[in-house]
């Protein structure tokens, strides 16, 4: 198949295949654990019989491929779980039940998802504006003091781990200067203003780091575009420098920015885990850290899959946007 439709179709199939492969890898890696999951789930004071009971209930004695098959079935058609006294139906897409609380993993993820999405997408707006703005400004004022200062700031942002920026921001702004209270998550639907104020510092910590890579890329890419022939033609026609930089050069620099945004999405999600833990935001990252500490494998696996899903999706969307933004890209 050729053309844009075929490109989209191939991309979708490729994305689904990647997700399936990731689910196999994640499932195999996490369930071939050296630790005794049944013992940990049951607690340290369980008798061997009780541990055996738990293992039976969690189907830990079944071969791995059987368990993976059940997992896939649950994803597609749903699954019934016996919780000892009653049978709970977990409808598709079912990611299983938590070993610890017997809650549905998907439910746990869905209650936490809005927090993480608020954090990541809010920060994304900020890092795109800050990063691209800084990049454009330093390409425009190249060779001047402004550019040097911006370059130094960008490098500093680039070199600071996200949790260090967050820690310093929190200690200075909330602790020492007391400009803001220590962040506490407020739902967007409850109070949009409080939602934004409380997320301000987490947004900043995450955005400052990511903005640095966008500033670097935008600047490099703008300088490259500014050296091209058509820009010289614009100058010869008397188009103002502001219009050249702001309109024409920026357009040429946009495609790589889109690509980087998707490419950095994975690292931003990792940064979000740190930010959530640091500021005590009840998002996916905080839950993942908790689930990991109590070896709640269904929650860990479900969480990794959902996050992997978003990252793979972001990459696929970026490929499409990239092709739309830059017509020179060959669709394959």
């Amino acid at each position: 198949m050729t053309g844009f439709g075929g490109f989209l179709l191939r991309r979708t199939i490729g994305t689904l295949a990647t997700l399936l492969a990731i689910s196999v890898i994640v499932y195999v890696v996490f369930y071939v654990t050296p630790g005794n999951v049944a013992q940990i789930t049951c607690g340290p004071r369980c008798s061997p019989e009780q541990v055996h009971q738990v293992a039976l209930q969690l189907h830990l004695d079944d071969p791995l491929y059987v368990r993976y098959w059940h997992f896939l079935q649950g994803l597609v058609v749903g699954q019934d779980y016996s919780t000892g006294t009653s049978v709970e139906h977990c409808s598709a897409p079912c990611l299983g039940l938590s070993y610890q609380t017997d809650q549905q993993v998907l439910g746990i993820i869905l209650t936490r998802l809005p927090v993480s999405l608020s954090l990541v997408f809010g920060a994304m707006v900020l890092w795109l504006v800050l990063g691209v703005g800084t990049g454009v400004l330093s390409a425009w004022r190249r060779g001047r003091l402004t550019e040097r200062v911006l370059t130094a700031l960008t490098l500093a942002g680039w070199a600071t781990p996200v949790f260090v920026i967050g820690l310093v921001l929190m200690i200075v702004v909330c602790g020492e200067l007391q400009l803001l209270p220590f962040p506490q998550y407020v739902k967007l639907t409850d109070d949009p203003e409080q939602w934004a104020w409380n997320l301000l510092l987490p947004w900043l910590s995450l955005a400052l780091i990511e903005a640095a890579s966008f500033a670097r890329l935008t600047r490099a890419s703008m300088l490259e575009t500014l050296a091209e022939d058509h820009i010289r033609t614009f100058r010869a026609y008397g188009v103002g420098e502001g219009a050249i930089v702001g309109r024409h050069a920026l357009r040429g620099a946009l495609a790589p920015v889109i690509a980087l945004n998707a490419n950095n999405f994975g690292s931003a999600v990792g940064g979000a885990v740190l930010t959530e833990t640091l500021f005590g935001l009840p998002g996916l990252g905080q839950e993942l850290v908790h689930a990991v500490s109590v070896v709640d494998l269904p929650v860990v696996v479900g969480m990794v899959l959902v996050i992997g899903f978003f990252v793979v999706l972001a990459n696929a969307v970026a490929d499409v946007l990239y092709a739309v933004a830059d017509r020179r890209v060959v669709l394959t």
């Binding site: 600071t160 949790f163 999600v269 990792g270 885990v273 850290v289 990991v292």
Partner: protein
């Protein structure tokens, strides 16, 4: 990563081994910032290597508890001002445990640099193996290896590492484990770069000549391709090192990476938001160490990239200072 991003920074191979290396050093030294950064990195490596010597000089070690220096009535704050700073403990002691802060800081450099360098070596070797095999194998081998590479590019490092580190038994040595986890998860991008560069090199005449002379794939990979891969691989590796330093620090900060009694800068920051009021160095020292290290590595990495990029280097001119570069850039834009 998009192919377009990778392709823009694939420099040509240096002409030959010895003079290539000499040229590289000359071009690196021509950049002032990179030279300073290289000095700082050398110093940090020295501190890491000489950690036992330095702590012996102070007369302390990183793991001994000093309960006598801790005020247990006040929740474990060190006795005395500035975190128990004294002639015996040059930077004071840790809250609650009383472990020597200077010793933990310099031993932390060992963990930070050791993990980052070793993880980078794993990433480079894996990336080289997979990338070269895919490009030379072609056909279904290329298809399979490229798909696997794509999957690893898509895996978010922090998430996977966080989950993996938690399920491995605590008896496994943590610094080694952190190294392995980072190394074996985040090798996808380097494999992509190597594959693309190998495909380019494969089409060149001298490789075809070697093939026609009847040399095997192993010989061609080792003798004909590796020198041409050196520049992009070194460039990307120098970007990976600071990324790996941050990753180790982040994992240790979350409490799943390097664990006490082994010191790590990230781990030292875990309780910094609680203790910084007792003495600012609980925040400033590990944060500053991380910042300086990652910054120096990044600037050095930029310098290495410029020194290996023939386009950038020709503009730089050998021996040219910063002013010359700035002026040339200005002339171009004027």
């Amino acid at each position: 990563m998009s192919e377009a991003l990778v392709a823009t920074q694939a420099p040509e191979a240096p002409a030959s081994g010895a003079s290539g290396a000499r040229q590289f050093w000359r071009r690196l030294r021509a950049q002032r910032a990179a030279t300073v950064a290289a000095g700082i990195v050398a110093l940090l490596v020295l501190v890491a290597l000489a950690a036992p010597l330095l702590t012996a000089l102070e007369g302390q070690d990183p793991t001994t508890y000093h309960p006598s220096l801790i005020d247990s009535a006040r929740g474990g704050v060190p006795i005395g001002s500035l975190g128990g700073l004294s002639g015996d403990h040059w930077l004071g002691v840790e809250p609650q445990t009383g472990r020597d802060l200077f010793a933990r800081l310099v031993y932390g450099a060992r963990v930070s640099l050791g993990v980052a360098f070793a993880a980078t070596v794993i990433q480079v070797l894996l990336g080289l193996a997979v990338g070269v095999a895919a490009a030379l194998g072609g056909g279904w081998i290329d298809q399979l290896l490229s798909r696997i590479t794509d999957i690893f590019v898509a895996l978010p490092l922090m998430i996977m590492a966080l989950a993996l580190l938690a399920i491995v038994p605590q008896s496994f040595p943590r610094p080694v484990l952190v190294t392995l986890v980072i190394g074996f998860i985040a090798w996808g991008n380097i494999a992509k770069i190597v594959r693309a560069q190998t495909l380019t090199l494969k089409g060149l005449d001298y490789v075809a000549a070697a093939r026609l002379s009847g040399w095997g794939a192993w010989h061609i990979a080792r003798r004909e391709l590796l020198p041409g891969l050196a520049a992009p691989v070194i460039t990307y590796a120098s970007i990976l090192i600071p990324v790996n330093i941050s990753a180790e620090a982040a994992l240790s900060f979350l409490g799943v990476g390097v664990k006490p009694p082994t010191p790590s800068w990230g781990q030292m920051l875990t309780a910094a938001d609680v203790w910084y009021q007792a003495a600012p160095q609980y925040l400033l020292l590990p944060a500053g160490a991380l910042f300086v290290t990652v910054l120096a590595m990044t600037v050095l990495g930029d310098g290495v990239r410029t020194a290996l990029d023939p386009r950038a280097a020709s503009r730089l001119g050998v021996g040219a200072g910063r002013g010359r570069v700035a002026r040339t850039a200005k002339e171009e834009s004027a």
